[in-house]
């Protein structure tokens, strides 16, 4: 994939390495709010744009990192396919009030590793990464993985890049598995408390039902069923609840995906007033979090959004007790955006950083202060 845009990036990295300066890898700058504060001179990946290859019957798309996510999704939709993990889309500056156009890139999507409502049912970003081309800290352009479904040739470096926040190198091109859009979708609504919602979601999860997404907030559980028409129909009959008009359901799930729905709008206002929006990734059977504030439950119980003024230590302890970890999504990150690592994992993280980026050129401190 030699071309002028890539050559420019390689030269920038070579120069930064020689000068011992840091680079802040960027695309649409829609997720600068996420993780620790960006540092270094901007390295714009957007000139590296375009879909390199896409054949719907292969269920694989290879796309350059600077390609707008919206462009990729439009190309997939044209063929009746999609990114099943529903990555959230933000506007430049991380806004999620629905007033500005979305500007995220494919590279940013993979590097942030965030997935939307269908995550628990279909897997996350990394589960759909088949291969990647990386520009490492030695200014080498390296490809790992490939464009095929099954590939065990060497370490799976491409999947390691999903959620790496750019600390290992510049993602140049990525091959993603894509899937057909579901034939049928229905949304059901139940008035239940949080504990009952968790009980139902986990019970349904153990049955062959086409549950694709779920959300509980403020006494209402909403469940999306997707799949073959017959399977969706029979699940609707079995689960009961109130069917939600598709004209209302579709914007609801989009709003949840892009974090522009009512819960997140209120969360943004609360954060402005001093609260913190936390993302807790926990065991899906964990009981309701004993934390003050508003709670939104997604992923069948495996993801809990909490808007709270509780101390960071208390939130992190609650998440750890529930078998997971807590991330400051928006708000005060004085205690670190991400949960601290165990000693051996911290050591491996540092050594991996050195393995890919020995001079700490890329996104220093973006994931953890010492990386």
């Amino acid at each position: 994939m030699a071309d002028a845009a890539l050559d420019t990036l390689v030269e920038r990295v070579r120069a930064a390495r020689a000068d011992k300066t840091a680079l802040n890898i960027g695309g649409g700058h829609t997720k600068a709010f996420y993780g620790e504060a960006p540092q270094g001179a901007p390295l714009d990946v957007r000139p590296l744009a375009g879909i390199s290859s896409y054949e719907p019957s292969e269920l694989v798309v290879t796309v350059r990192a600077g390609t707008p996510l919206a462009e990729l999704e439009a190309a997939l939709a044209e063929q009746g396919q999609c990114l099943p993990f529903e990555p959230p889309r933000f506007a430049p500056g991380g806004r999620n009030d629905g007033t500005a156009p979305q500007g995220g890139t494919v590279g940013g999507m993979v590097a942030a590793g965030l997935s939307g409502p269908a995550r628990a049912a279909v897997g996350g970003v990394r589960d759909y990464v088949l291969g990647a081309t990386l520009l490492n800290g030695k200014a080498e352009v390296l490809s790992f993985g490939g464009q095929v479904m099954k590939n065990v040739a060497g370490y799976d470096v491409s999947r390691l890049l999903a959620g790496s926040m750019g600390v290992l190198g510049v993602l140049c091109e990525v091959s993603l598995k894509v899937l057909p859009l579901p034939v049928a979708t229905e949304t059901l609504r139940f008035e239940v408390d949080e504990a009952e919602a968790l009980r139902r979601l986990n019970t349904w999860g153990g049955q062959p039902l086409p549950v694709n997404a779920s959300a509980w907030w403020d006494g209402t559980l909403v469940v999306r069923l997707s799949g073959a028409a017959a399977a969706v129909r029979s699940a609707v009959d079995r689960l009961g609840g109130d069917p939600v008009d598709p004209a209302l359901a579709a914007p609801f799930w989009t709003g949840l995906r892009d974090q522009s729905d009512e819960f997140f709008t209120k969360a943004t206002a609360a954060v402005a007033a001093g609260a913190t929006l936390w993302r807790l990734s926990v065991a899906q059977t964990a009981p309701p979090m004993a934390l003050p504030g508003e709670h939104l439950v997604e992923w069948g119980g495996a993801q809990r959004w909490v808007v709270t003024t509780a101390a960071a230590a208390r939130v992190r302890e609650a998440a750890a007790r529930a078998g997971g970890h807590a991330t400051v999504f928006r708000g005060d990150k004085a205690g670190g955006a991400l949960a601290p690592l165990s000693a051996p994992l911290q050591r491996i993280h540092r050594q991996l950083k050195t393995a890919f980026d020995p001079d700490r050129v890329f996104n220093p401190g973006r994931l953890y202060a010492d990386l």
């Binding site: 790992f144 464009q147 153990g206 997971g324 994992l345 491996i348 050195t354 393995a355 890919f356």
Partner: protein, 506 residues
């Protein structure tokens, strides 16, 4: 059994002298004896011979010693002691791997984890199983069956292979396209670093803080950490599965039909292909009533609720017939479904019956190139003067061409090697990979040179060093050094005999 290759032909360095070996053995036995019960440390030749190879019997190497720890504390102690001595450690599960990933190191300790065979917990509500690494793949599904749950990845050796080995190889199976590989079905791996420090990758949640180390540990062939416990996801068992058997009078039509099924928005539970020579060989073996006139046969499976399957089978039939299927049959019951599959599952032993020897390849190509590779292989049969039967995980583009030859004829042996190399080279040229599911191990070290540049291989070495600075965990596997870049990977199976001959092989 296969004639063993000398160790020097594999990844291992030149064989150590007897004096070096004796001195190393003395150091290891002195260090490990106080850490393990006497019966859990083997170092006499007659005791260590069973560990000299895994499922790839052509490559053999006696280990210095074999440790069989019974507790995690013992695993940690053995790792610490070996690390202090700078002695290589090769972890081993059931030894069913097909690429020599568990082949011992001449001056190393083989760490057999066979005694870690307990299912610790099955959580019906959370749909997870917490199991020790030595638990067999199928045992998880058997234990979960009363709850209506199962563990989805089903490598064909699943009655014998262990979950620890599955994690090492990122094992697949016939249902990968719909249900994913091992990585997609594992939540947490607990184990030890090469230094003997306890470590956990992943968690009880769907993601962990920081870099996704689980993604790189799974499939690392035991080179980054030692796995002792795995938490896997369990899936609800589909209520019903049905299979279509479709015949085609032309290879290209069959290849196009595979693409057309996917293009129609269908993700089959399984999608497999056999060519005419393969069909003839298996029909002679299992008498399942395969269409012997067909140039290619597709097996296309749907699973789910009865309504869902009925609907999907209808859509699949329409596509297959639209692509020119000359004959289609749909299984009407479980017995018939299993009969459809019987030939496909016995492709390896059936090949062993029609040829003195065969060599199995394991490359993956983009699905759309199926017909191209088949036509290329047909031309290679003429070029090298050898026959080849073809079975494919067509839905995944994963090929298992079986080259038939007689190893007693050196010229045939040589032509077979060239033939295999040609298939791998062509697969890479078509945009594929040299190994889809059997792993690199020692077997495909050379072919890694073709697929990856020196800089890419050096980056993989750097990843290895980040986990294992001294490089003593399963050394010499997966990543070839600059020195060995001559030949391509292959699996040489003599007379259809494998260490687990009763297992179905794909």
């Amino acid at each position: 059994m296969n004639a063993p290759l000398p160790a020097a032909a594999t990844a291992a360095a030149a064989a150590p002298t007897a004096a070096d070996r004796a001195a190393a053995l003395d150091r290891v036995v002195t260090a490990l004896s106080p850490l393990l019960p006497a019966h859990a440390l083997l170092y006499r030749r007659e005791d260590t011979v069973p560990y000299e190879c895994d499922g790839l019997t052509a490559y053999r190497q006696l280990p210095l010693a074999v440790a069989l720890p019974e507790t995690e504390d013992q695993v940690a102690a053995v790792l610490k002691a070996c690390h202090a001595l700078g002695v290589p450690v090769v972890a081993r599960g059931a030894g069913t791997g097909l690429s020599g990933g568990a082949m011992p190191d001449a001056l190393g300790v083989t760490l057999s984890l066979a005694k870690f065979n307990h299912i610790l917990k099955i959580d019906a509500l959370a749909r997870t199983a917490q199991v020790q690494c030595g638990v067999r793949n199928l045992a998880i599904s058997e234990a979960a069956a009363p709850l209506g749950l199962y563990y989805a990845p089903d490598p064909s050796s699943q009655i014998a292979c262990t979950i620890g080995g599955n994690v090492a190889e990122n094992s697949g199976g016939v249902h990968c396209l719909k249900y994913g590989l091992t990585l997609h079905n594992v939540l947490k791996v607990r184990g030890f670093t090469v230094e003997g420090e306890p470590v956990e990758f992943g968690g009880d949640s769907l993601d962990a803080a920081g870099l996704d180390l689980l993604a790189v540990v799974v499939g690392s062939e035991g080179m980054l950490a030692v796995t002792t416990e795995v938490t896997v996801k369990l899936c609800p068992k589909p209520q019903v599965a049905r299979c279509i058997m479709a015949s085609f009078d032309d290879i290209r039509k069959a290849g196009d039909a595979v693409a057309a099924v996917i293009a129609a928005g269908i993700i089959p539970a399984g999608l497999e292909m056999m060519d005419k020579p393969m069909t003839a060989a298996v029909e002679d073996f299992v008498h399942a009533g395969y269409d012997l006139d067909a140039e290619a046969i597709l097996l296309c499976e749907s699973d789910g609720t009865p309504e869902e399957v009925a609907e999907e089978i209808g859509r699949m039939l329409a596509v297959l017939q639209g692509c020119g299927a000359t004959r289609v049959a749909v299984s009407e019951n479980e017995a018939q479904r299993l009969k459809f599959w019987s030939g496909r599952k016995n492709a390896f032993p059936a090949s062993g019956r029609i040829s003195p020897d065969y060599m199995c390849m394991d490359s993956t190509i983009p699905r759309k190139r199926l017909a191209d590779i088949l036509i290329a292989i047909a031309a290679m049969e003429k070029k090298y003067g050898l026959r080849c039967c073809n079975v494919f995980h067509a839905g995944d583009g994963n090929l298992h061409p079986l080259i038939l030859f007689d190893a007693n004829d050196p010229d045939q042996m040589h032509r077979c090697e060239l033939f295999g190399a040609d298939i791998l080279e062509t697969s890479v040229a078509l945009g594929g990979t040299v190994t889809g599911e059997h792993g690199v191990g020692v077997e495909k070290l050379s072919s890694m040179c073709v697929q990856f540049s020196p800089e890419e291989r050096e980056q993989m070495f750097a990843v290895k060093r980040a986990f294992d600075a001294a490089g003593t965990l399963n050394p010499g596997k997966v990543i070839p050094t600059l020195h060995r870049c001559a030949e391509y990977g292959r699996m040489h199976v003599k007379k259809g005999l494998l260490p687990f001959p009763e297992l179905e092989r794909f």
